[in-house]
């Protein structure tokens, strides 16, 4: 418990969390705006097709909250790698020489932060959706589905931040870890999903979408997704497996 408090203090005494929170809010808001104002009708492409009158579409705009997931992954990665970057890992390991404990404390801390950011992202998309729809004719928002989306975002961001911590433990170089994660999420996984259609849903991004339940919403779809519960297990599995791998390899390395 004291270690989790220490991790919270580490992250609240620097600026990274602030910047990534701003990025999360901005990106969620931006995506809502795009989903509202880039519909075929709003863009005068097809004036008869008013998606905003479709209750499913309107409710799912809230799913834009999940679009900032990459910032959550980066938050977790920085949480671990900045210790190596600034060599604060020395004093961290002096106080807690049993190193896997540090990883666990960070996992818990960043999962809590991820959950909080998931809530913030949802509130943002909810508020922006209501404001953006004020001037439009639109179908009502389905409260039950909205709550499902909220639960999905909170859970997905919590686990994804933990994945970030484990990735950071595995790849100690901060730039390499962030670039590697971006390349994986934006390029490798996207390509794999296109060319090997059964694999996509089992990859971290696919599992994330399963927890977010948003693939069909944001139009990224095509590939099918896992049931939500399975998605939770798979995504958590990645966090734990990366963490164990790190504990057996990079985390054991000499600190010099």
């Amino acid at each position: 418990m004291s270690m989790v408090r220490s991790e919270f203090r580490k992250v609240t005494t620097t600026k990274v969390l602030l910047w990534l929170t701003i990025a999360t809010i901005a990106f969620s808001a931006l995506n809502v705006v795009l989903l509202v104002f880039l519909t075929p009708r709003a863009m005068d492409i097809d004036s008869d097709l008013n998606l905003l009158l479709d209750p499913a579409y309107v409710t799912n705009i809230l799913g834009a909250a999940g679009s900032s997931s990459i910032f959550i992954l980066i938050l977790g990665i920085i949480g671990m790698t900045s210790e190596y970057r600034h060599m604060t890992i020395t004093s961290t390991f002096l106080v807690t020489p049993k190193r896997p404990r540090v990883l666990i404390a960070k996992g818990i801390t960043y999962a809590l932060l991820g959950a909080a950011l998931g809530l913030i992202a949802f509130i943002t998309s909810f508020a922006v959706t209501l404001i953006a729809l004020m001037t439009e004719d639109h179908a009502p928002v389905d409260a039950i589905i909205a709550l499902q989306i909220l639960g999905g975002v909170v859970l997905a961001f919590a686990i994804y931040a933990f994945v970030g911590v484990s990735v950071g433990a595995l790849i100690r170089n901060q730039v390499a870890a962030i670039v590697g994660a971006l390349v994986w999420v934006l390029i490798v996984e996207a390509l794999l999903t296109v060319f090997v259609d059964w694999i996509g849903k089992w990859l971290p991004g696919g599992a994330l979408n399963a927890v977010l339940q948003t693939t069909n919403v944001t139009g990224r779809g095509g590939a099918d997704i896992l049931p939500t519960a399975t998605g939770v297990v798979v995504l958590l599995g990645y966090a734990v497996i990366f963490g164990i791998l790190a504990s057996l390899t990079t985390l054991r390395r000499d600190i010099t």
Binding site: T13, T14, T88, L94, D254
Partner: protein, 309 residues
């Protein structure tokens, strides 16, 4: 009551980084109640040895233990050992107080300790400033403050005088002395013997990862290297007499100029007596004390490791 010091034991410690042997079959012990200097030239393996003691570096073979335990097995390490290391870092955006509170939190110590140790090292004024703007000496003080938060019985400090102003060095000296007198274990590394000679009771000297000398400072300075400056117009006569005396061992004569010699291994009185016997005229006979720097250089010179113990 101040906390108990622990014996530090390094036993047949070897650490290789790839092909480089940073530490080679090194053994020594550090006793509580004394200030021990850990000396060696750059790259001789001091920091590596200390990191092995602190569980940061895994020895290739051998052990480095605190009170008979591996550092990693200590249940509450911050309360047992306080350490500063040359490459330990600070997050530049964190304040001095923030840095220390991260540690007090992790070690389950009261938050107030952060301000107490800042006061102790004279950083109270800078407590709320970001470490990114700190000078070398201020970082050194902050590192020391971090080592002290748990009020540990063992202090392991890697070149703590680096970057300190003369006032800071004097303060550090008396501080370490007081800690040792309370019965704590104090191990301080340095690459300059003269820097610690006023501070330490014991010395451990290493070179190229191997032990060169371990013992009390008196033993070391009594090792026959007290120097005497001799000025005489009959230099050759005296030199021959001294060298004849050197046959019995331990005497070293160096010609400084046509009229000046530096003699080690003999007391001034002995040299004076010898000169009288040889009827050599003396113009000066001055004990100049132990040249610790020369001794240190000699001990750690190439090809010497392991020799002089």
């Amino acid at each position: 009551m101040s906390p108990r010091g622990e014996v530090l034991t390094v036993t047949s410690l070897t650490k290789r980084f790839g092909k480089v042997s940073a530490v080679l079959d090194l053994s020594f012990a550090v006793q509580p109640g004394r200030v021990t200097g850990f000396l060696g030239p750059n790259g001789s393996g001091k920091t590596t040895t200390l990191r092995c003691l602190l569980g940061l570096v895994q020895p290739t073979s051998g052990t480095a233990q605190v009170g008979g335990h591996d550092y990693r097995e200590l249940p509450h390490p911050a309360a047992v050992v306080g350490a500063t290391l040359e490459a330990s870092g600070f997050h530049p955006g964190r304040t001095a107080r923030g840095h220390l509170r991260v540690i007090t939190d992790a070690a389950a110590l009261p938050q107030a300790r952060a301000d107490e140790v800042l006061e102790l090292v004279g950083l109270t004024e800078a407590a709320g400033r970001k470490v990114g703007g700190f000078s070398l000496g201020m970082r050194q003080r902050l590192a020391l403050a971090a080592a002290l938060v748990g009020d540990p019985g063992v202090l392991i400090l890697d070149e703590p005088a680096n970057g300190l102003d003369p006032e800071g060095i004097a303060w550090l000296r008396s501080f370490l002395r007081a800690r040792a007198e309370e019965g704590r274990t104090v191990l301080v590394s340095s690459h300059v013997l003269s820097e610690v000679q006023q501070t330490v009771d014991d010395v451990i000297i290493i070179s190229k990862g191997r032990l060169v000398q371990a013992g009390s400072l008196e033993e070391l300075t009594g090792a026959g290297l007290t120097q005497v400056r001799v000025r005489t117009p009959q230099l050759e006569v005296l030199r021959a007499a001294l060298l004849a005396e050197a046959g019995s061992g331990g005497v070293h004569v160096e010609v400084v100029s046509p009229v000046e010699l530096m003699v080690s291994g003999l007391e001034a009185a002995e040299i004076g007596h010898l000169a009288l016997r040889q009827q050599v005229e003396l113009h000066e006979l001055t004990p100049v004390g132990t040249d610790l720097e020369a001794l240190f250089l000699e001990l750690t010179a190439d090809g010497n490791p392991g020799g002089a113990a």
